[in-house]
């Protein structure tokens, strides 16, 4: 029945991965602000469709 021991080790290591992911997410501040990330993810799409009215002039860019 050593296969059960193997399964045991496997299942606990998978669960440990999730525990680690959870601790990581708390540490990373995922629960500090629950609104901004949800909004932020939509931004790139908008930028791609709405072109700026004109490009920056080189001297402005340099400034």
């Amino acid at each position: 029945m050593s296969v059960i021991i193997l399964l045991l080790v496997a299942s606990i290591s998978v669960a440990s991965l999730f525990l680690f992911a959870f601790i990581w997410s708390v540490k990373d501040g995922q629960y500090d602000d629950e609104i901004a990330p949800a909004v932020r993810i939509l931004f790139d799409d908008i930028s791609a469709t709405a072109k700026p009215e004109r490009e920056l002039l080189p001297e402005e860019a340099a400034k």
Partner: protein, 800 residues
């Protein structure tokens, strides 16, 4: 929410979305309400950042009040800058600014794209809940002052106050979340590995059973030593205060369960109750986390330092320098700019002051002060620049002294007042009685089973059900009140709210709105032409009375006014359509002192002929009279007003004869009034708004600060209530009262489970499997009952 429907006659500002009443600026095919808004648009347009306007409609905030050009000059002072910056190395500085204007996704987008406007900004990240933006910038090419000015130029002026000085970034304490995660992990795995034990296993695989048992023992160690430490700490703290809180019997139960389980595994007599133990720790931690998830964006502990500027301009020998607040000494001369807060009590030595004490008293009418008069800290200068001679240092000023008052109210610490602790004590006594009699009975019948019976009783009957029902109910009620814009400091406030039997209101700014005035004209009937002329004149001034008169006169088209003159604190005059129109106090308009010296009356004269007068009254918030009448039936009511007794008759009529009405109350008087009520054995709930209520709010058993908007600052209090929700106060109190009923109901239900468990326990046959089934069943039914019942009560009160 911004209003979306407006009449087509008034164009809306493309930037801020406000109606353009006074002037409309048309540029780039768009309407703007002021040059400030237009300028922001132009900056963004130039840099190709008009996405700002496509993400949300009219995302800006109005820019009608201009910001002084050198407002942020104090940031050039290295000492001040260093006290604000969190981290600095050779090339970059990290700073976080509080930006109260953050309200929509456009704000988020713009502030996170600051680097496109200015190369010196390396990155920026918004914390939406705290309304903070963390910015990393290159201090070799860009200064802190320029950063603040850049943000101001696009309409996001950072709010920098005295309390930011030296404050290091505080991280939210997430240790409870880690503990919860670890407990959840161990609980789930222990449950999985307990199945063989419960379902039976072949006799020839006994060795496998031992593997499972030792794995469980091993997995329960983090729960016992790490996750449950939350309860050990709390129990130890309360024991040190010679108080037995609910955590003490819980710790006992956890220890007994763990000891017995370890004993069983080591002696190979059984599998132990590791799953029950880790499960209960997990559920209790979950309840605590939910209950303590309070409102980070609101601060309940504000003192005067969060209102006061970080630095002011000091004048020494004709030189101006920046001085931080603690550096201000007696006899310093300070230059107070327009729209700046007066940081210390002083005497005006130059200029005419027109001071808005609305921060302090909630009253928005500015008070005129002449040279040589005393001005108090906390007032905001609304006229031109003035100079004051400091007569008291910042910490010694009248209001700040009130805040720094050392006598804190003598009440037990928050977590020791709850009825739950009292109940848990009775529960514990009964529990020991049962355990004792079970032990006695088994001692005479079968002494070998004493140990099992006693430990089983302690395991089954720990008051964790009470803790669970309490924390889950509190969490749900806190959440529900929060959805209705009543934010409580912590769960204990719910109980305090339910127990109050006396409600004290501040008048100005709480029962009445500080802003809008009810206006009444008395005198000769006015023709349309005269009304227009008065409106035109009044529109020239920014004084609240003038604004109210202009609004009363209506009409957008204004005639020109020539020779306009405004005498601060007295009145205004000007020539409209060839007639000299004068508006102002009796003395100013009639040129002779009149019998009434009422500040809330404005006289009108046209061509030096007095026509009549406008009377102003504070405008009571909607539904306030009906709220007061409803509350008056069950509560002792009181109104403490800093104003004169002009409203006495009206308030008496609304509040009835038992109510206490006190007028001309100084901040100290309000505090004393609360103390007097408390001395009569009353539990006082104080509802106020200004700094002048700060002492009373702290003294009261529960202080609720009323706030016009979430961005506003509120004095230290137990709860913050959005002003427009004040009429729902009676419902909030009823919901708070329901809290106890819900907790008790859930508790009774869980006791039923406990009785079943106890039956097995005293008979000495509590198997781990029965414990393992009872524990989650009782926990989950508590969860359902508390959630369902508290939602039902909220629904019954018509709350969101």
């Amino acid at each position: 929410m911004r209003k979306l429907t407006t009449s087509p006659a008034t164009p809306r500002c493309y930037h801020c979305g406000e109606d353009c009443h006074e002037e409309v600026l048309r540029a780039h095919d768009k309407d703007f309400c002021c040059s400030g808004c237009q300028m922001v648009y132009e900056i963004l347009n130039q840099n190709g950042m008009c996405d700002y306007y496509t993400i949300s409609n009219n995302p800006g905030t109005s820019r009608r009040t201009k910001v002084r050009a050198d407002k942020f000059a104090f940031l050039d002072d290295g000492k001040i800058a260093d006290s604000l910056i969190h981290f600095k190395n050779d090339s970059q500085s990290h700073i976080s600014f509080y930006v109260p204007q953050i309200h929509c996704s456009s704000c988020l987008w713009l502030l996170e794209n600051l680097h496109r406007l200015e190369r010196g900004v390396l990155s920026s990240k918004v914390n939406f809940i705290k309304k903070e933006v963390d910015i990393v910038f290159d201090h070799q090419v860009f200064s802190l002052r320029k950063l603040a000015e850049l943000m101001t130029s696009i309409g996001y002026e950072p709010y920098i106050s005295f309390s930011d000085m030296g404050a290091k970034k505080t991280r939210i304490d997430s240790s409870k979340l880690y503990k919860l995660g670890v407990a959840g992990f161990c609980f789930a795995n222990i449950m999985l590995m307990s199945f063989p034990e419960y379902l039976g296993i072949d006799a020839k695989e006994k060795s496998l059973l031992l593997v499972f048992r030792y794995a469980n023992l091993f997995l329960s160690l983090p729960v016992f030593f790490y996750s449950a430490s939350e309860f050990y700490i709390s129990a130890w703290k309360s024991l040190k205060h010679r108080f037995l809180n609910i955590d003490a019997p819980i710790v006992l139960a956890v220890w007994v369960t763990f000891a017995r389980s370890v004993y069983e595994v080591l002696t190979a007599t059984g599998g132990g109750y590791f799953d029950s133990m880790s499960g209960i720790v997990f559920f209790m931690l979950a309840g605590r986390v939910l209950q303590d998830k309070t409102y980070q964006q609101l601060s309940f502990e504000r003192d005067y330092t969060s209102y006061f500027p970080i630095a002011v301009t000091r004048i020494t020998e004709q030189k101006q320098e920046t001085a931080t607040l603690p550096d201000i000494r007696l006899n310093d001369t300070l230059l107070i700019h327009s729209e700046e807060l007066i940081p210390a009590d002083g005497i005006i030595t130059r200029g005419k002051a027109l001071i808005d004490y609305s921060f302090v008293t909630g009253e928005s009418l500015p008070v005129a002060k002449e040279m040589g008069e005393i001005v108090y800290a906390g007032g905001k200068q609304t006229g031109g620049n003035i100079e004051i001679l400091v007569i008291k240092e910042v910490a010694q000023s009248y209001l700040t002294k009130l805040w720094n008052r050392n006598e804190t109210p003598v009440t037990a610490p928050d977590d020791e007042r709850s009825f739950v602790h009292l109940l848990s004590r009775y529960f514990t006594i009964i529990l020991f009685a049962i355990a004792g009699s079970a032990a006695a009975w088994w001692y005479f019948h079968d002494p070998s089973r004493v140990w099992t019976a006693v430990t089983a009783v302690l395991i089954v009957a720990c008051p964790c059900a009470l803790l669970l029902s309490n924390t889950f109910t509190n969490a749900n009620i806190l959440r529900r009140l929060g959805r209705n814009h009543l934010y409580l400091r912590n769960a204990q406030v719910i109980e305090d709210m339910a127990e109050a039997d006396c409600i004290v209101f501040d008048k100005t700014g709480t029962l009445t709105t500080g802003l809008y005035q009810d206006i009444l004209y008395e005198g000769e009937p006015l023709q349309e032409k005269q009304v227009k002329a008065i409106g035109a004149l009044a529109a020239q001034s920014t004084h609240p009375f003038s604004k109210a008169i202009a609004a009363w006169a209506g009409s957008l088209t204004r005639q020109g006014v020539s020779g306009f003159r405004e005498i601060a604190g007295k009145g205004i005059e000007g020539i409209v359509d060839g007639d000299l129109v004068t508006l102002g106090s009796a003395a100013f308009v009639t040129q002779q002192p009149l019998e009434s010296n009422d500040a809330s009356v404005v006289y009108i004269a046209i061509e030096e002929e007095v026509w009549g007068r406008f009377k102003f009254r504070n405008h009571y918030r909607d539904h306030i009279p009906s709220l007061l009448q409803k509350l008056g039936k069950n509560y002792q009511l009181a109104v403490l007003s800093g104003d004169n007794a002009g409203e006495q008759a009206y308030l008496r009529k609304v509040l009835g004869y038992n109510a206490i009405l006190l007028f001309n109350q100084q901040p100290m008087d309000k505090l004393e009034a609360i103390k007097t009520l408390q001395a009569q054995g009353k539990k006082v709930m104080m509802i106020g708004d200004g700094l002048n209520d700060a002492g009373a709010l702290q003294q009261a058993d529960i202080g609720i600060a009323v706030s016009e908007s979430n961005n506003n600052f509120t004095p230290a209090s137990d709860a913050i209530l959005a002003a427009e929700q004040l009429p729902l106060l009676d419902r909030f109190i009823r919901l708070a009262k329901a809290n106890k009923q819900v907790v008790l109901t859930a508790f009774v239900i869980s006791v039923l489970y406990n009785l079943v468990g106890l039956f097995f326990a005293v008979t000495g046959v509590l198997s781990p499997m029965i414990a393992a089934i009872l524990m989650p069943c009782s926990s989950i039914s508590i969860l359902f009952v508390t959630y369902g019942l508290s939602n039902y009560f909220g629904f019954r009160e018509g709350l969101k």
